[in-house]
């Protein structure tokens, strides 16, 4: 059966060049880069090379890159590490209602431990208001944590404005850029970021590796204490193969960001137009323009998301949904809730996230398969009948 993967925001295949980069480090060059002998020397260069590749993509210096095991670790490290290190300066964090759980759950944990957190609301496009951010800052504010691009809707936050506000009030700025990396240009200097988190498996790299940009001079308590790796910022034997893979993935992302993502944007737009033309009562979730080029989130009214996904899946199409049934919790997507999306439409929300391997053919296949599925499920829905 044809398989069309449109869930790149969930994870991506490892690019062939990336896998090739990784393979020597499993058996031939398996050393621990902290070792002084040949087995260590063979690999320490690879780690430093990858550090440069990551640094180049986001415009920082290699010494400001700390390798981690994933985006979630990076977010936890940034938030908890800041709160612990800046305890004497304050205890207030400003974030948004639509952050990834790696930030939101961490904030909730920190609230239980004496932090105060302001969750900025978003409008119907999932966008924040910078003026509200500015107003939220108090004497005790130590951290602004606002993501670069939202994983569910693709909405892009005004990071440069946020960075300017952070600078004005001398507050540290952390941004979860897991979804932005590789899809749009990311420059930590322009956005005046202090801490930026990325994850390998969202950008054609392997799972189980990530990085945090830590601006030089940023005081932060480690999340993982232990050995002297990563200049005492993150203990644990280096995951050499994955780090080398992340480096290569960042290099490729840098080279291809323009070409790839113009193509991906065109495909996404074709999909969006096609759906809107062919299917009535579809609502776009997310910002119409300020949006990741690969992301399309729509609610097909009257249909619950998981049943839609299962039907897609029977046709080989992989997408994802904000319905409670796919989130692992009982609530539908907190992002839809924050945007004021009506609850039934929140359960209906469906995310198509495209990537460099998608083709026009893929899009056309989805556009062909989708309408009868939606039709059939609407016929089955008590909500549809009522309104018809």
């Amino acid at each position: 059966m044809k398989q069309v993967y449109m869930d790149y925001n969930a994870t991506t295949p490892v690019r062939p060049e990336v896998l090739e980069e990784m393979l020597p480090f499993f058996r031939e060059h398996f050393g621990n880069p902290s070792s002084v002998h040949w087995a260590g020397r063979q690999v320490s260069g690879a780690v430093e090379n990858a550090r440069e590749q990551v640094a180049r993509l986001i415009n920082c210096s290699p010494a400001e890159i700390v390798f981690t095991s994933c985006g979630s670790e990076g977010d936890n490290m940034s938030l908890k590490g800041t709160v612990d290190a800046l305890r004497d300066k304050g205890n207030h964090i400003v974030t948004t209602t639509v952050e990834h759980p790696a930030v939101l759950s961490t904030c909730q944990y920190l609230e239980k431990n004496g932090c105060e957190v302001t969750y900025l609301p978003v409008d119907e496009h999932g966008m924040i208001d910078s003026a509200q951010l500015e107003k939220a800052i108090t004497e005790k504010t130590i951290l602004i944590s606002i993501m670069w691009g939202n994983n569910e809707t693709g909405t892009l936050f005004p990071v440069e404005e946020i960075g300017a506000i952070a600078q004005k009030y001398k507050v540290r700025f952390h941004t979860d850029a897991v979804q932005a990396i590789g899809k749009i240009p990311v420059d930590v200097q322009k956005a005046n970021v202090d801490l930026l988190v990325l994850s390998g498996h969202k950008v054609g790299g392997p799972k189980g590796v990530g990085a945090v940009y830590v601006r030089r001079g940023t005081r932060m308590t480690p999340l993982i204490h232990g050995g002297h790796q990563e200049r005492n910022r993150r203990a644990g034997t280096h995951n050499v193969a994955a780090i080398a893979g992340l480096g290569k993935a960042c290099e490729l992302a840098g080279e291809r960001i323009e070409g790839d993502y113009q193509r991906v944007r065109d495909l996404r737009d074709r999909l969006e137009r096609g759906i809107m033309e062919r299917i009535p009562e579809v609502k776009l979730n997310g910002h119409p323009e300020k949006r990741l080029p690969n992301t399309l989130n729509v609610s097909f009214a009257y249909i619950e998301g998981e049943s839609l996904l299962l039907n897609f899946d029977m046709k080989g199409i992989a997408a994802s949904s904000g319905s409670a049934c796919t989130s692992g919790s009982l609530e539908p997507s907190h992002v839809m809730g924050a945007m004021g999306v009506e609850i039934a439409l929140a359960h209906s929300s469906t995310r198509f996230s495209l990537g460099p391997d998608n083709t026009e053919e893929d899009v056309d296949y989805v556009l062909e398969v989708l309408p009868p599925i939606v039709e059939r499920l609407r016929e089955m829905s008590p909500l549809y009948k009522k309104k018809a």
């Binding site: 998301g305 299962l310 039907n311 029977m314 409670a324 049934c325 829905s381």
Partner: protein
């Protein structure tokens, strides 16, 4: 994640629709938990002669709805009232743990429909 039986009932649901001039109608669930099930009945004497469902919900919700209509068809009302959500889940070879809570309401909808019929009967 789902058993074969669930996937069968989900992809080929039995008795979808709404009976016109139904003798009893039951609706349970609400949009906030993500599941709404509506069951309509045609009753002759004491027996369910026809039963249809409409469901807004996940795979488990649709499959349990379909299964409960098969199980209730041609049963007497008292027999139908014995059907439990657990029995429906069992008949589907079980549901994933995290689906037992919200989506497993089909028997409740059936019971509501029977109650509605009996109330109309007075």
């Amino acid at each position: 994640m789902y058993s074969e039986k669930v996937m069968d009932h989900f992809s080929n649901p039995r008795n979808v629709g709404e009976i016109e001039n139904a003798d009893g109608v039951g609706e349970v669930g609400n949009a906030s938990c993500g599941d709404i099930m509506k069951i309509s009945l045609k009753i002759e004497g004491d027996v369910i002669k026809d039963i249809k469902f409409k469901t807004f919900g996940c795979g488990a919700a649709i499959a349990t709805s379909s299964m409960v209509t098969e199980m209730a068809m041609d049963k007497t009302l008292d027999e139908a009232l014995q059907l439990t959500n657990a029995a429906v889940a069992d008949a589907l070879d079980g549901l994933p743990g995290n689906k037992m809570h919200c989506s497993n309401l089909a028997a409740d909808a059936l019971h509501e429909a029977i109650k509605n019929y009996r109330e109309k009967q007075g």
